[in-house]
Symmetry: C2
């Protein structure tokens, strides 16, 4: 059966490695195989919602120290599998490791978030950076290898990277922003320079994801957190184009594209060479299905704030969400990362509700 | 002609006062009258883009001092009419004057933005606040009266308020936020308390807008800056419902609803008792028209970042934007407030391009 599934996957334009996973629901659902139930995991499941994570985090001096310690990163990667019984692990890391490996280090500043001392604004700034050397990301690759060993084929491991547009936003702006108007100024004032930078990020991202896959990642997700800040035309030119380049370059494993806020390019995503499209909690599953068509798996999309509710409310809203996907190709998740102050019992209830849901 | 227009407006569920405006294009377009050209103004036109504004701003100790000084507020309100030749003035003020008049003062902190020392989190916190006393907003009303006098009927004056949901976000969260997860937690954990607070904000807003109209505002706009943070169901219950209450309570002048990011309730806005619906730059005019129907005027929606571009680029994109509205009921604007570092010559070019556009 594994072999015929792998065969199917190859025909569908992606290979699934021959590793015999005890639970491969996520990969089956990703490539459009019927599954006995809908697989479920949460964005940011490896994180502050778990006291076991907070203990590990407290044992090191900062967030970056944790990301760069393969042994501890693997430990927190696996925690949600043990503690929450999710159907996948996702490697604990940060999307900003890539610009750092390109020559632009960031600092994680309390309350401000990630901050770059230097930014890219001009032709001469481009000389500061280079295509990422994967050796400089070895700690992530090592964390994947260790995670795979410790997972012992229980569930798939998801690798990930930020989409080039989102990485570009941080490299130009230097930090988070409500409008990212510096990044948007740059693509408008200097499209050539912008495309050069986006191309270098794209090349780096492809190398990085391929190294993750080589180390054992069973599926990769591309996060475009700031997709929704651009209008449709500019997003097609400076955002989606590079996501497409990445998806076209990778055929080793299934790919998920999560372009947050980019409801306006759902019809374009239909033609993106990926198996899974992530939906945020603003986009309705039925409408998205009719735009994106039947050939993709949809992932999502409960409003993370719902998990602040009572048990009854969570069950009701999760069931409604499940129903909205109509039993078609679906991976259950939230519509964004779980909020750090969510009670772990509520997260478990969400997961159980998905697992018990019958179409 | 004025009289028959006013008659028409009354039939359409809103009155236009008998004031003989030299340029009433905005009001004509708002109520769906044919106009010789499309009217144009910009959100945040009274602000940092103008050196004349920056001079006035530098003459007082802070942003709040400017807002609370009727004479200076009127001066900066009128500047864009003189300097940019826009088809409307909008009173210079801040949406957070309302929560302040409800008993929750804010401070404008450099780089952090508006911050409330106290927030509303519990039943007992509700005792801190009350329906706004319009006397406590007298400086805005006075600024409107002075502006009207100085405008001397050249163009209409727009009044405005924040939508209850957006004001609620600030009152609960205490400051800006990427996720407003505290505010969202509150509506989910304590819907009764949330509705009480939203109701008090709504009552205050209705009183406030009526006082603005009494003082001479010719149209009012409701800004729901954080509409896009909720999913469709929650937005209907905690957002749109209160906008509808406000729109139903006001029939003195045309009303504009700008629910930023809330593409998912466009079909609901069709039934909102307003004449104009504002569009951000993510929502395409044609698609929005087909959802919202022919009975509303649409306002917007050039990406503000476009004004960072070359003259040719601005002309091209503005013309494209105009064309996308297909000569149907339209008020030209950006899809959000103009960015403060936009060159004033670029803003003028946008305005001229709209004025010269022929369907």
């Amino acid at each position: 059966m594994q072999n015929s599934k792998a065969q199917n996957a190859t025909e569908k334009g992606c290979k699934i490695d021959m590793e015999k996973l005890k639970n491969d629901l996520l990969l089956q659902a990703a490539i459009g195989e019927k599954t006995e139930r809908t697989p479920v995991w949460l964005m940011r499941q490896a994180g502050r919602i778990l006291k076991e994570y907070r203990e590990v985090r407290a044992s090191v001096s900062g967030f970056k120290e944790l990301v760069q310690n393969p042994d501890l990163a693997a430990e927190v990667t696996i925690q949600p599998v043990d503690l929450l019984a999710v159907d996948a692990a996702i490697i604990f890391s940060d999307i900003l490791e890539v610009p750092q490996a390109m020559g632009l280090p960031y600092e994680m500043i309390e309350k401000t978030g990630p901050t770059f001392r230097e930014t890219i604004k001009s032709e001469s700034d481009l000389k500061k950076i280079h295509t990422a050397n994967i050796n400089d990301l070895k700690y992530v690759i090592d964390a994947i290898s260790i995670s795979k060993k410790r997972l012992d084929s229980r569930v798939p491991l998801i690798g990930f990277a930020g989409a080039p547009w989102t990485i570009f936003c941080y490299m130009v702006e230097g930090k988070g922003s409500k409008t990212f108007s510096e990044a948007r100024k740059m693509i408008i004032r200097n499209p050539t320079l912008s495309h050069q930078l986006l191309e270098t990020i794209t090349e780096s991202t492809i190398l990085y994801l391929k190294a993750q896959i080589q180390a054992g990642a069973n599926l990769v997700q591309i996060f475009d957190s700031w997709a929704g800040i651009l209008g449709p035309d500019l997003y097609r030119e400076f955002g989606l184009r590079y996501i497409n380049e990445i998806c076209d370059a990778i055929d080793e494993v299934p790919k998920t594209v999560f372009a947050k806020g980019a409801f306006f390019v759902r019809k374009d995503l239909k033609n993106t060479n990926c198996q899974v499209v992530g939906l945020d909690w603003h986009t309705h599953a039925r409408a998205s299905r009719s735009i994106i068509g039947e050939d993709k798996t949809l992932q999502g999309n409960l409003d993370p704030a719902i998990l602040y509710g009572s048990d009854d409310f969570i069950i009701e809203k999760t069931t409604e969400m499940m129903r909205s996907f109509e039993g078609k190709r679906h991976i259950a998740n939230l519509g964004h990362g779980v909020y750090p102050d969510t009670e772990v019992e509520k997260v478990k209830l969400f997961i159980e509700t998905v697992k018990e849901y019958k179409n």
